[in-house]
Symmetry: C2
Subunit: 402 residues, 2 copies
């Protein structure tokens, strides 16, 4: 095991920095960290891989999203750990270590934005910017007890962010306080929109509840009761088969749809580079990459059609003023080192991605809120709205949760 | 001047290929070419730059869009010339030559999808796939007398397409026949949508007409009369100030908005690489790149906000069932070698991009149709619809033009 930097007690940082704001703005006084797949000028971007880091020069320019935040008054305090090639949801990096989950120190932080979550959960940063394809912001936010947002696909510029899965990947934010999530996200969305329409309906995706542990389901119901009391809006259950075709299963969003699109796109970005350069790979990534190598790209092209149909069905269903709610992850954070059997890995990943793929395939904005506690550990409750309704969603979350 | 491949009489091809279809499909019997910034497995992608080509290994996988077309029954017949780093609208490459404009052989083909246009215009390919940010499909289609489409931003997967300007760049199609443009585009859009709503209104963007040469304006009016006769729908003039704020000018879409966003994103993609590696650059590109180097990235961040507001204004205005029409380019193709003074370059680029930035900033699908002839040379007439209304637009174009 190679450790590439001196970790602090959180293990979150690849590099401590102190980049002052470009100018004063709404984010004055806030400090943020940057996931190590997002460029910071003059500092190498590792993509979570020492081999990638060594093969690529330091960028000359900050990623646009970094410059947007610096120009809004925030200060960048460091570059933080990402899982290898950001291709993981667990946050256990062979090369950079496992950033500490401050709310559950014997458990994984979740990934791939593991350092983003750990740096904020430890109180060292007000917020962090990360990326999310299959859940890489939402999962660590859920498992570390933070707010997190995966915005609508392509609402935030990806210039200076390493290309990962162009039809799936997003830039987003994690924060300890809702107000900071809201402010930082609005700076990045750069919207001039008039105040969004009011919240009029809260749906609960029952299929996602069924995937979750029973204790998570119970905690969700208690949180929904509080939301109903606060808003006067009674959450209404909805089944995935009412959203897509009769007989459709939530699993379809992941299986033979988003998962295949992700794999095909990953082959074109990281895969081409790995196959040309044969770099040193971590053990866990190597296992996962075996599936990428064995992937039948042609047979999987039909998954693109399925993704498009699911996008259309879900976005036709989610009318303006509607949010849909579900547990962010089906479980609390697994114990560190417990994902050491194929069964454990498959159980964690398949169940988690069955839920996270819903917003992924539909390109929805999704906010995860740190509302649930199970066995003393945090789990997030997620709220999603139709594609491009990011500002509405942020307003609705404020209405529901204050 | 380095010539990297033996040109045929069109000068369009970097490499002749004969990649058979993956399977039979709707595109059976059609042959297509691929712009040289889109990956073909086992063949280096040059990005229009010999230095980039030499520094990067051949990709292991086809771009997803290439695989989609091969899986729909089409045959890939070659890799075709792109302008250096696709950062041009003229099609005069110092390294790969100037592909021949079959309809106006003493004139430029337009770029940066110059080889795409030339290969189709010469009848060697039924269609070609290219990319478009500032007009790189629409301009060569217009100047070479072809059909072309820039789809809605991010409707077609960019996996295996060299990252250029993530918030602006699209993959699209050029074709000699409308039917082929329609079929190939629908394969790439992979939509399961029900038949699109009918065309109910045709708007004409008068500001774009005013930017165009008088002879182009006259030709547009004649074409609109034929469309009115065919559809029974009388095109209605609309000013940009009715779409955006009162007093707004069409020029705003380019100036201090899309142009700055493009430059900032170009710094993060190509710029970082050029500044780290100091590669051999062509003279014309070097001149343009001087502006990129001198660009004030921080001062230009406000352009992102302007882009977002223009996106929202234009898409609020363009209701379902509405198309908006304007000349694709303000001029016919300039004579080869005539863009040799700063004045000539500025006149061609500024006027052209004042028009092309409209769909760019609003992320609209835009089809250019080879309907106009001025001084014996082709010019395109463009039709755009709201973001993500690609299938409606293809249907409306069929209704209007048959």
């Amino acid at each position: 095991m190679t450790r590439l930097s001196e970790p602090d007690h959180t293990g979150a940082f690849v590099e401590h920095l102190d980049l002052p704001p470009h100018r004063s703005g709404p984010l004055d006084g806030l400090g943020f960290t940057v996931k190590d797949n997002i460029d910071i000028a003059g500092h190498k971007t590792s993509y979570g891989s020492p081999a990638w880091r060594d093969a690529h020069p330091a960028p000359k320019h900050n990623a646009l999203c970094v410059d947007q935040l610096l120009a809004a008054g925030a200060r960048c305090i460091g570059k933080v750990v990402a899982d290898e090639f950001t291709y993981s949801l667990d946050g256990e990096s062979q090369f950079y270590g496992t950033p500490r989950n401050a709310k559950a120190p014997d458990r994984i932080p979740g990934g791939s934005s593991s350092g983003s979550a750990a740096s904020v959960a430890a109180g060292l940063a007000d917020f962090s910017i990360g990326t999310d394809s299959g859940g890489s912001i939402r999962v660590p936010a859920s498992l570390c007890g933070l707010w997190g947002i995966r915005p609508s696909l392509h609402r935030i510029s990806e210039a200076g962010v390493l290309p990962f899965m162009p039809s799936v990947s997003t830039v987003g934010v994690l924060a300890a306080r809702r107000e900071h999530l809201d402010m930082a996200t609005r700076m990045l969305l750069r919207s001039g929109k008039a105040p969004a329409r009011p919240l009029r309906q809260i749906l609960v995706l029952t299929d996602a509840l069924e995937v979750a542990d029973e204790a998570v389901r119970t905690a969700v119901q208690a949180a929904l009761t509080r939301i109903a009391d606060r808003t006067g809006i009674t959450p209404e259950p909805v089944r995935f088969s009412q959203i897509a075709d009769a007989g459709a299963s939530l699993r379809e969003c992941n299986e033979n749809a988003l998962r295949d699109l992700q794999t095909a796109e990953f082959q074109s970005t990281v895969g081409n580079w790995i196959e040309a350069h044969n770099p040193e790979l971590g053990f866990t990534f190597s296992m996962a990459y075996g599936n990428v190598l064995a992937f039948d790209r042609i047979a999987a092209l039909d998954s693109l059609d399925r993704c498009e149909r699911l996008f259309e069905a879900i976005n036709s269903f989610l009318e303006p003023g509607v949010v849909i709610c579900f547990p962010t992850t089906p479980v609390i954070a697994p114990q560190k080192g417990s994902l050491n059997s194929l069964e454990a890995v498959i159980d964690f990943y398949d169940r988690t991605m069955t839920i996270t793929a819903f917003s992924g395939v539909a390109r929805l904005p999704e906010v995860t809120a740190p509302l649930l506690t199970v066995d003393g550990c945090p789990v997030g409750l997620s709220f999603a709205a139709a594609h491009y309704q990011d500002e509405f969603l942020l307003g609705a979350v404020k209405t529901m949760l204050g």
